[in-house]
């Protein structure tokens, strides 16, 4: 690999396995070319519905794991929750079924050059991309602390694996069924204070990311936040996944989660304004088109 991020590829992959993982599904696909380009935080966009599908948009999933192995190119693993027809279709694929994979897409997590202390915050199955990240961080001599959150025990992901991946693991559930009762926003500031983390990495819903970014800021740490992998095209064409973010010039722009993200600096995203076009955004004004 040369310097920089090599472009994504589109491959006719094959589903190798669909396994249950707690309340989620763990999909393993053969997708030559994707694994080789992977960096933690990047995602894949899968076509759904098969050869005669009337589904015109892809489904985005953060990459959980890759294996660049064997004569057949690498495998790519993602964690999904079948919530709508497209993901349900994917979950129902038998081993050997063709699956159309586009990836790896998007901007990955930035890695520290120094062996600093890192807090990794994952909500539900959005925690998946934090595991390959933890591995890279440890390779760099970083100390990894993990905080896994969910509504209940069933919605947690990777609690066992986290014990291998991190020096300390904290679990927080809203119903208190496992770990501390509460939410990320309740426990993260304390964790940061104790662990003196230099960087917070977070993956989850916007509210969790917002909490993580704010806690990091208050603790004087940097944050890298991975917004949910967008559905749509994954390549920046459809402009369906935009959110307001502040650039280095101090200007707010509508940026695409698929190409400028999904990982953003937590201090750059205007979390309160996600879903809107703030009035001071570059080019905001009366809509031209309609």
């Amino acid at each position: 690999m040369t310097a920089g991020r090599p472009g994504p590829v589109r491959v006719d992959g094959e589903m190798l396995a669909v396994k249950r993982a707690g309340g989620y599904l763990h999909l393993t696909m053969v997708a030559p070319g994707v694994a080789e380009r992977f960096r933690p935080g990047s995602f894949v966009a899968l076509a759904v519905g098969g050869p005669l599908s009337d589904r015109c948009l892809r489904r985005g999933f953060p990459i959980y794991r890759v294996r660049a192995s064997g004569a057949y190119g690498g495998t790519v693993e993602v964690v999904a929750r079948p919530a709508e027809a497209g993901t349900t279709w994917l979950a129902g694929l038998s081993s050997g079924s063709p699956v159309d994979v586009l990836g790896p897409l998007g901007r990955p997590f930035a890695l520290p050059k120094e062996p600093v202390s890192c807090a990794l915050v994952g909500e539900g199955h959005a925690a998946a991309p934090l595991f390959p990240l933890a591995e890279r961080l440890r390779e760099r001599g970083c100390t990894v602390h993990m905080l896994l959150a969910g509504a209940d025990e069933r919605s947690l992901f990777g609690t066992l694996e986290a014990r291998r991946a991190a020096r300390t693991v904290q679990v927080v559930t809203e119903d208190g069924s496992v770990g501390i009762r509460g939410r990320v926003v309740d426990v993260l500031p304390d964790l940061l204070a104790r662990g003196a983390a230099d960087v917070v990495y977070a993956s989850g819903t916007f509210s969790v990311l917002h909490a993580a970014a704010r806690a990091a800021e208050q603790a004087g740490a940097w944050s890298q936040t991975a917004v949910p992998a967008p559905d749509g095209c994954g390549t920046g064409l459809c402009q369906g996944c935009v959110l307001p973010a502040v650039g280095e010039d101090g200007l707010t722009r509508m940026v695409r989660a698929c190409t400028e993200g999904p990982v953003f600096r937590g201090d750059r995203v205007r979390w309160d304004d996600v879903g809107t076009v703030p009035a001071d955004t570059w080019g905001a004004g009366p809509e031209v088109a309609r």
């Binding site: 040369t2 030559p32 070319g33 004569a71 063709p98 901007r107 930035a110 004087g220």
Partner: protein, 368 residues
């Protein structure tokens, strides 16, 4: 707080597209198996795949063909439509004939239909972009593992490359010309075919004589395998106008030197037994005739070959196959795979799929 720039590696997002392309190309080539490769995991995975609309998969020459029907050389001379042709239902596509040097071929018109005979006469004369340009095109295709999601099987098409002699190259330099094509094209080919049977390049058919054919095939095989870094299945394509004895001599040679297969047959120079009016036939003039009139001789050559070479050698039967019934006849006569050109020209874009589907049904009925 450490400044952001100091703490983090710079993440480069907007990689220059060309750089990305080159990187993609290298990685894919490294990662990409020969698609139809038989060994290992892919084989086992493929085995569980239900037989699709292409019919029963065929294993031959260490390759796995999704079905028996392929497109014969001559339609896609420059490798510009492989995946789109596969999308029409061809399980393998033989591009070419490609020659060592680019050449314009004969003046137009050079392709004629004889509808009364369901036949085509061509004197194209190996018009093609030359091995170098075609290799570049195949390299770009290999770098881009694209296929249409609505076509599922697109990428499983087996790619054959048919090579021939540049017209201006003298006969005593023919081997070097073929070697050049083999060297450039073999890395992208699932199999390679040495064409020594087109009637439209003067002297080409003389290369079918065993004394000339043996060194040619051996040289091509060496060049191809060395360039590709693996064994590239090698076949020879022969003319229907060979005498039975000459057909048998080629068959013996194939077995002796361990060739992977024979493609039989090319077009004929014969004009016997045509229904088209004499005047039309003579107006059309010289060239190779393909289509229904070739059917009988092509069948005979197939039977001769199969009887001589035994059950293992791959025989690709081509010549006058338009109906699924004829397809079944060829398979029963010992063909491993089938190819068509004229049947496709007359049948149009929906023909390959119709043929494959109907043939699969005939085979199922015959087997029952």
């Amino acid at each position: 707080m450490t400044p952001y720039r100091w703490l983090f590696d710079r993440v480069l997002v907007h990689t220059d597209a060309e750089t990305a392309h080159r990187v993609a190309f290298r990685a894919i080539r490294a990662a990409r198996p020969v698609l139809a490769g038989l060994d290992g995991l892919a084989h086992r995975r493929l085995d569980r795949r239900p037989s699709g609309e292409a019919g029963q998969p065929v294993e031959a020459m260490g390759l796995r063909f999704p079905g028996v029907l392929g497109l014969a050389a001559g339609f896609d001379k420059n490798a510009v439509g492989i995946d789109a042709l596969a999308a029409l239902g061809f399980s393998f596509v033989e591009v070419g004939t490609v020659t060592g040097e680019p050449q314009p071929g004969n003046p137009r018109p050079r392709l004629f239909r004889l509808p009364a005979d369901r036949a085509v006469v061509n004197r194209m004369g190996f018009n093609n972009d030359g091995a170098e340009v075609v290799a570049g095109r195949l390299a770009r295709r290999a770098a881009r593992p694209l296929a249409d999601p609505s076509k599922g099987t697109g990428r499983r098409v087996v790619l054959g490359v048919n090579i021939g002699k540049t017209k201006l190259v003298a006969e005593d330099e023919a081997v070097a010309d073929y070697e050049k094509s083999a060297r450039l094209l073999a890395p992208y080919a699932d199999y390679l075919v040495v064409n020594v049977s087109s009637p439209n390049t003067p002297g080409l058919r003389d290369l079918q004589a065993v004394a000339l054919l043996r060194p040619l095939l051996e040289a091509v095989r060496r060049a191809a395998d060395a360039a590709a870094g693996r064994h590239v299945p090698l076949l020879v394509k022969i003319a229907p106008d060979l005498s039975d004895d000459d057909v048998l001599a080629v068959a013996d040679l194939a077995v002796e030197i361990g060739l992977d297969g024979i493609v039989a047959t090319n077009t004929t120079v014969s004009r016997q037994g045509l229904a088209s009016p004499e005047t039309q036939v003579s107006t059309v003039g010289a060239g190779g005739l393909s289509g229904a009139p070739l059917q009988e001789r092509s069948r005979d050559v197939l039977r001769l070959l199969r009887e001589r070479v035994g059950p293992d050698l791959t025989i690709v039967s081509v010549g006058g196959i338009e109906t699924p019934e004829e397809g079944l006849v060829r398979l029963e006569a010992g063909a491993t795979l089938l190819q068509a050109y004229t049947g496709f020209v007359y049948g149009g874009p929906t023909w390959p799929r119709r043929f494959a589907r109907e043939l699969a049904r005939l085979r199922a009925r015959a087997a029952a």
